[in-house]
Symmetry: D2
């Protein structure tokens, strides 16, 4: 039984709390949050204790921590937790600074402690089935990958300003998805972007609509499309052309009802946002972490994976400014 | 907070236990089962007590019972629970005997105690959205209802022999679905059936494939198709033609992956069986019961609804034997 | 090269004219119609002659006739054409009177002349692919067939009065489809029907909404649903459950555009009516006739097939009146 | 009635011949081809004459010519036809040389003669409905366009060598589609490409897989994906995200049959190639030309449109070599 401390009792922390408590091989023993009341209320619901994060990190009875705090604390908490001998599942991104993330890796890689980064989409049943079909050779060799990832609505401009920008904040998921599917990082990253959804996002120095093209050493190509706004809901699709076929994974819909009238045929929208779409993925993710830690098997997403996606985000941010391709090895 | 005793710790009892414990307004306080170990193990998981069903029924601190025992005990348990002043949610069917079910209604109807029958499919988000769209007038007036309901595989013949037959055991869900959509019972029931999936089912006096046609006083028509075997999974669809359009609710699929190759395009099957398909429905169902009991609002499915479906099953059983239509009022 | 005379220059005659003229192995040489101008105008378009039907039937240079006249003339024209040594493709139904159709068969069956009945839906690429998949054993043995067939709008009541009724006029196509898929006629026919779309249809002694259940000697079951009105367009679907799977053939849609907005996802309706939906089927049908006649191979739909469907229509008409099943052998 | 001469009796010429002859307002009067027998055989089928292209161009009784010859003759034939006072519908591309195409425009633009370029996909009912929905404001303002265009199999390398390269030969259709949807040419063109399908295509100096990103003056973005090989058939899809929704137009499928078995659900592939997919589009295209010429209304696709797409192809060819974006105005 894995004894788990949860750092961060916000929206995503609450999702993790259910899964930690509900898993047959893990228990939620402690919760911390900068807002003390939030930790207390969440802890009470699952018979856990509300404690400070230092307390949790220093408690030898706790085996693992789940880091669901704000991004700027991730690297520090990973380092402290690893130093304290704990297994770590840390929400993405590792850090907004590639240099800081690399330092975090350097500081922890010889510890032997398991560190997993929470790229939840790898655990989505649809994308998981896709990667498995590819790995099983069902479409031959991959050639052209296409990722569509649209949020339902842009966040407030105040958030945009501290987010690290669309490529680090939003597209980082898609960079990891590309790595998941392609099994290797790209050679070059070419980005175009604009602030067409909301000009204020442009004034804040960011983009809200972007297309990134990735090239690979063996001639494969990937393309990622992002928009901060798809009024019909969370649009998350991946498509992969291979030498012997095409794999395509689509959205989860609110329901299967369709209505045919003189006006046409209408059906349900995609589920609204990531909590609705990826709730099953968080369950699978937690199971992957618990299994890896308790059974000593390799973790599905490593700190290196987190850094790889971050490097791609940095390259894309640069390319979107200059228009020119950025070679990843040059970063 | 509704204090709940669960009678029956089998497969469906376990599903209900999760939902009772997880609901914000209910607590699981006690569990009984004819297999004592089953009750103990389930109770332990949720911090409840394993007790006898008589103990539970006689405990004034318990507000409600969920009856998930074998069908032959339902009527008795409903009567006892109502007499003990408890609200009741009882799994379908009320009874295999229409006369016994009617006696149960007679014995309980003046009590004022809330009794709800667990026709889970009414709470399926797909069928729920369909009924809501109909009620909102989105396809005008209903004219022709069609229900497809196939199980993935037939149960053992030993089960068939005590099941009450396909119409009472399996199609009873579809009779209730017809009542849910049509808002009134039919006038006549005409059934044809055969044992084409497994001749041993025929030798046991039952059918495994059947079509039932229902006529309504105002000219509406409904048709229900059942098969005990659809090798591709649980096939649960409803379609309703109205004066201004068609509503159609389909299956939930295992995932959204599709694969295109020289051989064609392939995609996922429907989810395997009722636990996979209707898990969300059981959550909604429990919420409907808790809300109804605590807030004193009408329950979504009444004991009368259970009896109506049972009468239709009895009529269908008779019609399948004679070939002639059975007038429901004649039963 | 098959020299063809077309009897009837109405809507369906015009469809056939294009296909006769466009086929590599047939030529349209003559056209007749009760409205002389209609024959002249159609003949002119394809370099054919407008003649009387007697002239056409008596011209030894004409190899085949396509009968696209009103139903009451079909039997007579088939008999005359066969007597004149011509191959015949006659539009459905053979006749409204089962006795007359049987007499027509008796009068022609020893002639050796090829006579094909125009059940166009057998040649629809979707239904054709379904029958081929079944014949190839792709879903094992057929068990439960379901046919949905809705027209976009009811015809005028004046037409209803002379149509022979829904079962002979509209559902006859579906009876033939059942025969096409099941490969044998049913044993019993049970029908329910009502005039819920338009009460005037009921006053005219007909129904506009109907469900017919067919049972087969080996335990198979089929069900046919008809409505004279589906406001969203021509709804033509067939579904067949077998021991090893399900085949399902759906509608052709106007286009593949879908639109996702806050209001939901909308897409195109089915094509409007039989000319849009079955245009490709008429091409395939004509090719089947030409090939059969010129190469001496068996025709895809025989006069016997036409009579079988007509008998089922008569049985359904009777059953809808009495409510009781009608045994086909008793007719 | 438009009297039409057809220059070129090859595969696409034959498609046009049917449509010219079948249209109510046009007649096919003459056919030419470098292979004399091809012209004679096609002309005979439609009662036209086989003549030399000079004869056709010099015949004052001919109103319009359809140029379906090899690409290297297009510019010359357009100029000669316009000089001879004829309306012209010329197959795409105008020319492989942007300079030559511009010269053709310069030579003909003051003539007042209607010249239309055969970008058939604009007339596809699916894409046509999409553009109409956009124009009607159904998804607000366009923001992000995505075009997927895969051929079923690569042409012979011998063809590749004289084709002008993937961007001029294949993606030119998609450049025109972008112009059709976006209503303005892009500012920059950025291309990546590789020869991953067949290395011999790379040795011939071309690519077989490519992604092109287009940016627009107002911040809009478009992305085009091409592959010379999709083993499951011709894959032609367009998707457009707007401020108020998403439009998506998909493939035409061979049929609507689906099969559900233990192995999953399988359905039909897209139609095999452009003749199957775009046959309806060629009919609509010809009607647009005839209507424009006879009624004096603006043509749907102009010579300028042909040049715009060609310039984009040239820019993409250059960008794929350098990796850098190419500004269209710099060409």
């Amino acid at each position: 039984m894995l004894k788990v401390g949860l750092l961060g009792a916000g929206r995503i922390g609450q999702v993790h709390a259910v899964n930690i408590a509900g898993h047959a091989r893990s228990t939620l023993v402690a919760v911390s949050d900068v807002v003390e009341g939030a930790a207390q209320s969440l802890a009470a619901k699952y018979g856990a204790q509300a404690r400070s994060s230092d307390d949790i990190l220093n408690d030898p009875a706790i085996d693992a921590v789940l880091v669901a705090t704000s991004t700027d604390t991730h690297s520090d908490l990973i380092e402290k937790a690893v130093a304290a001998g704990k297994a770590v599942l840390c929400e993405k991104p590792v850090d907004l600074s590639l240099a800081r993330a690399k330092a975090c890796l350097a500081a922890t890689k010889d510890s032997g402690q398991p560190v997993m980064i929470g790229f939840n989409r790898r655990f989505d049943p649809n994308f998981g089935a896709m990667q498995a079909a590819l790995a099983a050779g069902e479409i031959g060799k991959a050639e052209l990958l296409s990722i569509t990832s649209f949020d339902p609505a842009p966040p407030p401009v105040s958030y945009i300003k501290v987010s690290g920008g669309l490529f680090r904040d939003m597209m980082i998921h898609d960079f990891d998805m590309a790595n998941f599917m392609m099994g290797a990082p790209p050679v070059t990253v070419t980005a175009v972007g604009s602030a067409i959804v909301n000009p204020e996002i442009g004034e804040a120095g960011d983009v809200d609509t972007a297309v990134v093209t990735l090239t690979y050493a063996d001639g494969r190509i990937a393309v990622i499309k992002n928009s901060r706004r798809a009024v019909y809901g969370y649009d998350q699709r991946v498509e992969l052309l291979g030498s012997e076929g095409l794999l395509s994974a689509g959205n989860m819909l609110e329901n299967t009802l369709s209505k045919s009238t003189v006006a046409g045929v209408s059906s349900a929208k995609p589920t609204y946002f990531f909590l609705e779409r990826y709730m099953p993925a968080y369950v699978v993710e937690w199971n992957a972490f618990v299994t890896g830690v308790l059974d000593g098997t390799p973790l599905a997403v490593t700190l290196e994976d987190g850094i790889s996606a971050l490097a791609m985000a940095e390259a894309a941010t640069l390319s979107a400014k200059t228009g020119a391709p950025v070679t990843l090895a040059d970063l």
